[in-house]
Amino acid sequence: MRKKWFLSLLVVLLIPMLSGCNVLVLNPQGPHAETQANVIKISIITMAFILLVVYSLFIFMLTKYRASKQDPNYKPPHIEGSKVLETIWIMIPVLIVAFLSILTVRSTSDVEATPKSMQDEKPLIIYASSSNWKWHFSYPEENIETVNYVNIPAKRPVEFKLYSFNTMTSFWVPQLAGQKYAMANMVNTLHMAADNPGSYFGRNANFNGKGFANMDFEVQAMTAKEYDKWVSEVKSTAKPITKPEFDKLLKDSHVGLKTYTGTHLEFDPAPTSHQHSGGQDEPEDMEGHEGHDMSKMEHDKK
């Protein structure tokens, strides 16, 4: 009786989920997100099975052995245990864990590489760097840069090279792939691809201060032709990104959408390796920082 309450409550709460409204993670639009959604669905089913076993046993025990249903003089027996039962409820979970482990290692390996269905395509490389509280997208191949939005060609693997100018952030586009941290001093690679053209929501998922809640961005996947058209449009209409302009961008908290030709990587390259050997500027006051090559050793700290 009590347990009916729990179960009916759970069902009631599951209805919004069943109606599928906007549950981005379970509505994948790219091969990696789809792998992950499948893993999630398999794990939900597996876990539901475990819940079923536990709940059935639980309801049985409570209904059958309640004191109110028994003789007041009944004295429960001493039951030490059972090696057989212990073995069963160790071995079956071990098998489940083994199954899920294999699934995990396989799927993790898949999502950390170019999608299998797009193996023969050349990945497009885009640098996504974060500063408080915005995303800078540098396209070295096309030599353009955007802020707080990124356009990609659909049906083509994209490799986002992630790093940060200061706080640790997490680059996340739920419908296309899982997230990965962008940190100072090293570059992480996130593999992603969109199956179809469309607009996809992205955000920073790692809390990094006051402006965190608004640190989202739009990913627009376009057909190859539309993408090329957009790139040439940018090249002909946008201003070049200059160092003073970029420094100002780094300093301002919220800058809206911006588009430039050239990338900041020319005068402010990404971290080269994990063991950062050069000095870096004081994070909050970036004015007057001469372009520095991170591999050089001499640098005066202010």
């Binding site: 009944y74 997230q179 809390f207």
Partner: protein, 653 residues
């Protein structure tokens, strides 16, 4: 001069909530001082509470502090849920919200769950093992007072200087001076450090107590399961807390002395903080859950009137859980870019913990088999725990799978998971234990009627509050977002969650009301064994005399008291002899007060005050070294008189 003092001010000092808090703190402090003076209770306070080394009183103080912190952490929670109930809400701005979730996390884990558990540990363990106190009573008092002033120091941040605001996990470089320039994170580093020293001492104390002071005949495999859980928990404490000590020390050095451990320049490594924090942090969550498991074992056996099924497996499963807890920490940041091999390894170790945990669930269920189940309030919490905690457990397995975690990480799905293990696990456990052992300590029971209402409100509201968050997380709501826009689609989940939070608040208020009502109206001294208990703590008087047992019991089974009742096996044999007890001492309180000054001075970089108070702390230790205090003996006549007053002569067979 003005600039010097401006550090102590809060950034948005005209915020009504801050002004309200400052006024309340001032009023309450004045009220306490005036009250104590008017009722001439200073002497009583000093003699009975501030200088006590009695584990029972220390336990009560821990639990009282934990309840106060539960209130503060709960208000934080309610404010957060109210703020996020509707999109673009203006109740709290970002800075304020960030401070609130940071303090909520620190308070609930370190200043609510830990002291509640350590409080129950203090009250119960010596009684359960048939001892007169813990191994090091003076050290025990130091542990409490260090915790207490650590908590006070942390709480005062709200009105002097500003609360920490970088999350309870305090990742760098966000938590560095460059991005958190108020003293808030200094409070974090130093207050937790001081409280942590107290916890480490508790670890040493209780391992020694359990290993060396058990009643004759109580071998390790005859200990009650709560005692086992506490032994293992304290072993984890001894090996995990030093990691936190170093992590916080390095953080303090980065923030106060300009070092570069975790900075993003001069070779610092922000990832190192995350690793050190979680190498402590993961064992920490097992520190708060294993005692709850122990409490549930006691409660389920008592109220199903059966012995614990699979005693040996229950012990080995806790040993396995504690060992595994040290090799899973990376699952807290799979997304840091480690690659398949590392993430794969940690996925496997993390999922492995589900196996011994499952063993425990099944053993508890089989303990109900052929039992005679009475649904008292403690049993309701235990029965609520099983189905609800298991949801937390299975979502934990889901999170353990690295590839999927790349989607779940840092979303509300994660928040829902850990609340589904912490609340039905730890919180239900301590509430159940609190209700269960209350009559032993105070000589009267809490009202079952009010308790049941509280339980149902809490159990149902909990699910209403947190289940929708699984879905909002999968819909893209990250954690720690102070607001979201209308078109994000999270509104319905957050609104339902807020309604649930109101229900939870009401349930907790009922618990407070229960304490008041029962203290006022409940019948006193009805029995020393109100629940028909099975272990040794029920073989004492209620309230328990200073010396616990007039004669140390002799034990030869896992359920010694039950066997005395059911099979007439005598527990107390022999004659009463003078009992040696430690003296009270003001040193723990005084040294901790100096620690408070030291901590406060460090937070505000007041070096001279810090150095002087540090010398003061060492002076206390020097004084203690030369002290020649050997305690006192309670004479036989006094013991016999106490025993007679309680109605039972100890050497009755």
């Amino acid at each position: 001069m003005k600039e010097y003092f401006s550090r102590f001010a809060i950034e948005n000092a005209d915020d009504p909530m801050i002004i309200g808090a400052q006024i309340s703190i001032a009023l309450v402090t004045i009220g306490i001082i005036v009250g104590l003076t008017y009722f001439k209770k200073w002497g009583y306070l000093w003699r009975t509470w501030l200088t006590t080394v009695d584990h029972k009183k220390i336990g009560i103080m821990y639990i009282l502090a934990a309840l106060l912190m539960l209130f503060r952490g709960g208000v934080d929670a309610l404010l957060m849920r109210a703020q996020t109930a509707i999109p673009d809400n203006g109740l709290l701005d970002a800075q304020h919200y960030n401070e609130i979730f940071t303090t909520h996390g620190v308070i609930m884990i370190l200043f609510m769950a830990m002291p509640f558990i350590i409080g129950l540990m203090n009250v119960v363990i010596p009684l359960q093992i048939g001892a007169r106190d813990v191994a090091f009573p003076r050290l025990n008092a130091v542990s409490f007072w260090l915790f207490f002033i650590g908590a006070m120091l942390f709480n005062i941040s709200f009105v002097i200087g500003g609360s920490p605001d970088a999350g309870w996990t305090a990742y760098f470089p966000l938590a560095s001076n460059d991005y958190s320039h108020t003293v808030g994170m200094n409070y974090y580093a130093i207050a937790i450090q001081i409280a942590g020293i107290g916890t480490l001492m508790t670890g040493i104390n209780f391992i020694t107590t359990i290993m060396k002071m058990r009643a004759p005949g109580m071998t390790l495999m005859k200990m009650p399961m709560f005692t086992w859980s506490i032994l293992i928990t304290n072993l984890i404490i001894v090996f995990a807390f030093p990691v936190l000590t170093i992590a916080l020390a390095l953080m303090t050095m980065d923030r106060l002395f300009g070092t570069h451990f975790f900075s993003i320049d001069s070779g610092g490594m922000d990832m190192l903080w995350a690793n050190l924090f979680w190498i402590w942090g993961h064992p920490e969550v097992y520190i708060v859950i294993l005692p709850a498991f122990g409490i549930f074992s006691e409660i389920i056996t008592t109220f199903a009137q059966r012995n614990l099924y699979g005693y040996k497996s229950m012990v080995f499963s806790m040993v396995a859980i504690s060992a595994l807890s040290f090799v899973v920490w990376t699952h807290h940041f799979y997304t840091m870019g480690h690659g398949v091999v590392v993430n794969g390894f940690f996925s496997i170790t993390t999922m492995a913990i589900a196996v011994p945990t499952g063993v425990k669930i099944f053993n508890w269920l089989l303990t109900l088999w052929k039992g005679k189940i009475h649904f008292t309030v403690p049993m309701l919490y235990a029965m609520g725990f099983i189905p609800i905690f298991v949801i937390g457990g299975v979502t934990g397995v889901m999170l353990a799978m690295a590839s999927a975690d790349y989607q779940y990480h840092n979303t509300m799905f994660l928040v829902a998971h850990f609340h589904y293990v912490l609340i039905p696990g730890t919180v239900f456990g301590v509430l159940a234990g609190f209700t269960f052992w209350w009559p032993k300590i105070f000589g009267f029971s809490l009202s079952e009627r009010i308790g049941k209402w509280a339980f149902w409100f809490i159990a149902i509201s909990f699910n209403v509050t947190f289940f929708p968050l699984f879905i909002s997380g999968l819909s893209g709501q990250a954690r720690r977002m102070y607001t979201y826009s209308e078109n994000a689609g999270f509104t319905i989940y957050n609104m339902i969650s807020f309604v649930g939070a109101l229900g939870l608040a009401f349930g907790f208020l009922l618990i407070v009301y229960n304490i008041y009502w029962s203290t006022r109206y409940a019948k006193r001294h009805l029995t020393e064994d109100p629940w028909n208990g099975r272990s040794l703590e029920w073989a004492t008087h209620s309230p328990v005399p200073e010396y616990n047992f007039a004669i140390i019991p002799q034990v030869d089974s896992t359920e010694a008291f039950w066997d005395q009742k059911e099979h007439g096996k005598a527990l107390f044999k022999g004659n009463i002899e003078p009992i040696h007890m430690p003296n009270n001492s003001g040193q723990p309180f005084i040294m901790s007060a100096i620690f408070f000054v030291f901590g406060f001075a460090m937070v505000f970089s007041m070096w001279i005050v810090a150095i002087i108070s540090a010398i003061g702390i060492f002076a206390c230790m020097w004084y203690r070294s030369f002290e020649n205090d050997h305690g006192h003996y309670i004479p036989v006549e006094e013991i016999e008189a106490t025993e007679r007053k309680s109605g039972v002569i100890a050497n009755e067979d």
